[in-house]
Structure formats: C-alpha cells, structure tokens
C-alpha cells in the first residue's frame, strides 16, 4: 500500500494528461495527412486551430511537473516519471507543430496534381502514426520492448523518406511545371520523417523511465 496517496493521484493525472495530449497529436497528424489526400482545406484549418489545445495541454502538464518537483521532492522512479513526462510532452508538442506544418503545406498542393507523386506519403504517414501510438502504449505499459522496436520502424520511415525524396526530385525534373506544387510534398515527407524521429525520442524516454538508463535508439 502506498503511503503517498495524494502524490500518486497527481502522478496518475499526469500520465492521463500525457496520454490525452498524445491522442490529440495522433489525431492532428491523421487529419493533416487526410487533408492532403482529400485536398480538404476545412480539415487542414481544423488541424491548425486544434494545435492551440495541444499547446494549452502542454503548459498545463509542464506546470504540474514543475509543481510536483518543487513540492514533492520526487526521487528514483517518481523523478524519472516526471522528467520523462517533461521530455515526452516537448516531443509531442513538436509533433503537433509538424502536423500543423503538414496541414499548411497540404493547402498549397494544387488540386489537380495527379496522385502518382504522392504514392508513398500515406504509407509514411501510417508508419509515423503507428510509432506515435506504440510510444503511448509503451508509456502506459512500461513496455521496453515495444519502445525498442520503434527504432526499427523509424529506419523504415527513413528509408521511405529517402526513396520518396529521390522520386519527387525525379518527378519534378520530368514535370518542371509542377515544381511549385510538388516541393510542398517534399516538405510534407520531411515533416513526417521528423515526426517519426520525435516518436523515437519518446521511445528513448520510455526506456529511461523504466530502466533508468539512457539508450540511443538511432
């Protein structure tokens, strides 16, 4: 039985808030990619305005962490939970920003662009989203193996990005008239790759949370 009920409750709320923020980011990424595939500016706008909620939640969580450090003198696992929490929300917030970047770029991709150059984008998006989801799962279940597995997925995303990048360059060389449009696709691919990197960071944070050891996944 725990002798620190109030503190435990706070830590539980912290965990719930982080998961809530995670799912908001997950949705944002999903919607941003959807807005590209469906050329839906309304959805893209939604992503942009939705980012405020993510930022607000981030500050709320950060304040809670600082307050807990100041008032509860956390050590050992408690300290790691809070420090990891701070780092995870930083990564989540960045992923949220990338989702906004994707939505913004999506609005610039011309409506009549054929789907051919966008071939690999949905797969990249799926992988990045999967990593984000795995990270949150690993966080909930202290699952170090899942966290470690995330880096394999990240390798896949990187490979995919390289492929997409050269494919888009090639496409632009062939269709110089589409450059103004396709260059945004390059950016989007780049953002998705960054999201996957951020997710990998979350995986590292979780490994530290559970084992107390820092481990570079890439």
């Amino acid at each position: 039985m725990s002798t620190r009920l109030a503190f435990d409750r706070e830590l539980h709320i912290l965990q719930q808030d982080i998961l809530r923020m995670g799912s908001l980011v997950e949705q944002a990424v999903y919607k941003a990619v959807e807005s590209l595939l469906k050329r839906d500016p309304v959805l893209a706008k939604e992503v942009m305005t939705g980012d405020d909620a993510i930022d607000a939640l981030r500050w709320e969580i950060e304040n809670r962490c600082v307050r807990l450090i100041a008032t509860q003198q956390p050590i050992a696992r408690d300290l790691r939970t809070i420090v990891t929490g701070l780092k995870i929300i930083l990564n989540l917030e960045r992923m949220g920003d990338h989702a906004v970047d994707i939505a913004r770029a999506a609005m610039c991709v011309c409506r009549h662009l054929p789907p051919e150059p966008m071939e690999t984008i949905p797969r990249m998006a799926r992988l990045a989203q999967q990593m984000l989801k795995d990270g949150l799962d690993a966080y909930v279940y202290d699952d170090v193996n899942k966290a470690r597995a995330m880096c394999l997925t990240d390798d896949e995303v990187d490979e995919l990005f390289n492929k997409t990048f050269s494919a888009l360059i090639e496409y632009m060389e062939k269709h110089p008239d589409t450059i103004g449009c396709v260059v945004y696709l390059v950016l989007i691919a780049r953002y998705l790759e960054r999201i996957a990197d951020r997710a990998t960071n979350v995986g590292e944070d979780i490994i530290y949370l559970v084992t107390g050891e820092w481990q570079e996944l890439n």
Partner: protein, 251 residues
C-alpha cells in the same frame, strides 16, 4: 574500492534480537557515507558498532570483522579508548557538557594530555573555526555552552570532536533536532570536513542523504539491502525495497 573501514560478515544480537544480519560494507575514505532506513532497521546500531559504543550496553553480542585501516577493532589488542579517539561521534541531540564553550572544546585535548594553555587556545580556536562556529562564539568562550542555540550547540559538538583530530566522524541524525537553516549550515560544514575526514551519517531525511552524501547504504530489518553511489541510489535504485522506501511508499 579502497576502504577506510571494512566490515565483513557482521552479525549483532541484542539478547534474542538479531539486530544486524551479515552486513558487508566498504566505507570509502574522505567521502560521506549516508545510512538510511526506517526506524529500528539497525543503522544507528551499525554506527555504534564502529566506535564500540555498543560495548556499554548489556546483552549485545557481535560476530564478524570490522577493520579500521586493516586492523580489527574487536580484537583483543585493540584499545577502545584509542579507537574512540580515532572514530569520533556526533549524536542526535546536541550534547554539550554543562561547562563553558572553551572547556567543551578543550575537553578532549585535556583528557588526552594537552596541558599547555597556549596549545589549548590554539586547538580551541582552530576547532571552532573548523566547525564554522568561531565568529559566533568568540565573545562568549567562557560562558556556559548550554546558552547556545540548538544549531550552535551541535556545531560545538562537532568542534569538540575536531579538537581530538579523529579520522572517522560518525553522525547519528545530527540535524534531526535542528531548524532548516541550522541544518543547511551543518550540511555545508560536512562538505568541508570530508576533505580531511571519513564521514558516516545516519539520517531519516532522504533529501539530506541525497544532498550531502557520496555513497548511500539502505538498511532494512537489520539487513544491508542496497549500497552504492548516492546518485545511482536516488535515480535508479536496484532493489524494489529501496525504491519503495526512498520514494515514501513503504508499508
């Protein structure tokens, strides 16, 4: 790790009570070692093993080896009085003797044969400076020590100890009766003292152990559960029991 004190297979029985169970520990020199654990876990008993203060208590039986610089302090040819001069102790409640500040500090040197007034004056001043108390008491050296504040009294006890130039300083919850400012002063002092002395401190205050010590040992029910670098113990303890205790989830 090279040790100032080496304890091997230490068992201590108090009547029928097995107070310390097979304790093995190496206390590094010129470092602060913190002993933590719940009340009655044996940490204070262990501390008092190191200067044989348990000898005074009826019904205590000790087995195992306690080596100070390689010499067994429980062997026949070890003189308790010499041992206690080398291994000094500061207690939980400040216990200055009911005499003047000066006489308190001069007590140790006097019983060890220092007679010269000039030499005593020197020792008293140096010890009081060493305990960061000189400035506060220089004008009242010949007034009773019992008129000092709790924090000052505890620093006086430290000065009294420094006057006999020990090698090891044992501290049994030295700040538990003091206010936060006095506590921090003593902690600051400890950091200075470890340049010269090997310090072992028993504390109930987790933050204190984390703040001042280099090495931490966790005792539970007479057992040494975990022992290692303080930053490791306080960020990633290996044993679940240590984790539960230091994060305050005990029960």
């Amino acid at each position: 790790m090279e040790g100032k004190i080496l304890v091997e297979g230490l068992n201590l029985h108090y009547r029928d009570f097995h107070a310390l169970k097979d304790v093995n520990i190496v206390v590094p020199p010129q470092k602060i070692t913190a002993l933590i654990g719940p009340s009655g876990c044996g940490k204070t008993t262990f501390l008092r093993v190191l200067n044989r203060l348990n000898d005074l208590i009826e019904g205590v039986r000790i087995e195992g080896k306690v080596l100070l610089d390689g010499q067994d302090i429980y062997s026949q040819d070890c003189d308790v009085v010499t041992l206690r001069k080398r291994v000094g102790m500061v207690f939980q409640r400040p216990n200055p003797f009911p005499m003047s500040v000066y006489d308190n500090v001069a007590y140790g040197p006097r019983i060890h044969g220092v007679r010269s007034k000039r030499k005593l004056d020197e020792i008293v001043e140096a010890s009081l400076r060493g305990a960061a108390l000189w400035e506060e008491v220089r004008d009242r050296l010949f007034r009773s020590a019992l008129g000092l504040s709790g924090g000052q009294q505890q620093r006086l006890c430290i000065a009294r100890l420094l006057a006999v130039e020990p090698e090891v300083v044992l501290m049994d919850e030295p700040t538990s009766a003091l206010d936060p400012i006095s506590t921090l002063k003593i902690e600051e002092l400890l950091r200075d003292l470890k340049q010269k002395y090997t310090i072992i401190i028993v504390t109930h205050n987790m933050q204190q152990a984390a703040r001042v010590s280099d090495v931490t040992a966790f005792f539970l029910n007479g057992e040494l559960v975990e022992y290692g670098a303080t930053d490791a113990i306080f960020t990633k303890p290996r044993d679940k029991r240590t984790e539960d205790y230091i994060t305050g989830r005990f029960g």
